[in-house]
Symmetry: C6
Subunit: 75 residues, 6 copies
């Protein structure tokens, strides 16, 4: 099964989780080695510039997912 | 209850507060340890590059929330 | 009264001023201490990377305000 | 007269010039002192990271101006 | 044949792959020398700031591809 | 003749080339001296942070050009 079958989610919160998944997948595609990513993770999770930059990526992907779901206006 | 039941808010100001919440939640999801985040906070709140970068994330999320609310044109 | 009663402005120039206000408010919400912000300001106002980054935040907020006002096409 | 009477321009090229103007105005509003900006300019104009960051701001403002003009499709 | 015959894809996952392709092509156009890019790659794939920045570019291109495909709502 | 007569292109690939042109023009407008830009180029083309940042600018301009062309859906 595809890791991304659809951009449609039931709720805004699930849409936010999908935005996080989209953000992490790009990192994984650039650095496919789990060990290397695993070693980098504690460093960047303790680096505020990296945390803010990650939040920016999530915000951008959340724009996409929110638009796809018509902002869950009818939810 | 969900931390994000809806993107719809009564007023632009509440929409702005929601944009801040969305921005912080991404940081929390990447660094779930409250202690680590608590230690980082005084540093980045005194670092102007980090403050501007945070403001960029809020601006991006505010775009999403504003579009969801049709810019509160009828408010 | 709310600091953000509406995204609607009479003119593009007022919309631009509102975009600046939105940009600064995020900084204020992250660093509420006026003294700390006041001490940081001369430094970042003399740092070109910070000035450009600030301009990026204003551009993002101006997108939002411009869309809200339907680009003042009928003004 | 306003420095920003309208977002509407005759041609895409004029729209691009307006995007540059919008980008510079945010810097001017943050650092109103002409002398300070004048001293910073040679440095950042020779710094490739700053030039790319400036180009990002122009691109963001050009999105706004292009949408306002309906992409000059009927021009 | 063109490297970019269309922005339309069958599925969201293919759309994501296209967003990655678009992101890498810009790097290739700026630095066309395969050897130089090949030497840079191990370094940036081990640099978390670079990985996050790459993820930001993919997110931006994925916005474009998703909009082009009307978010695969009918898929 | 204008360097930017229109945002409309025949194909997505030509649209991508236009996005690159828009990205470089902003750098040229900020640093009009060909010699200075020429000297900076080898450095930034070998700097992965700069290459990624350039790719971000192209992605942003490609959003604009793609929207202008209605994503070449009828091509």
């Amino acid at each position: 099964m595809s890791w991304l079958p659809s951009l449609i989610t039931e709720t805004p919160e699930e849409g936010y989780e999908l935005a996080i998944k989209l953000s992490r997948m790009a990192v994984k595609k650039t650095q496919p080695d789990d060990d290397v990513r695993g070693k980098l993770r504690p460093d960047y999770a303790a680096d505020f510039a990296a945390l803010i930059a990650s939040s920016q990526v999530v915000a951008t992907n959340f724009q996409t997912v929110s638009a796809a779901n018509n902002y869950w206006r009818d939810a």
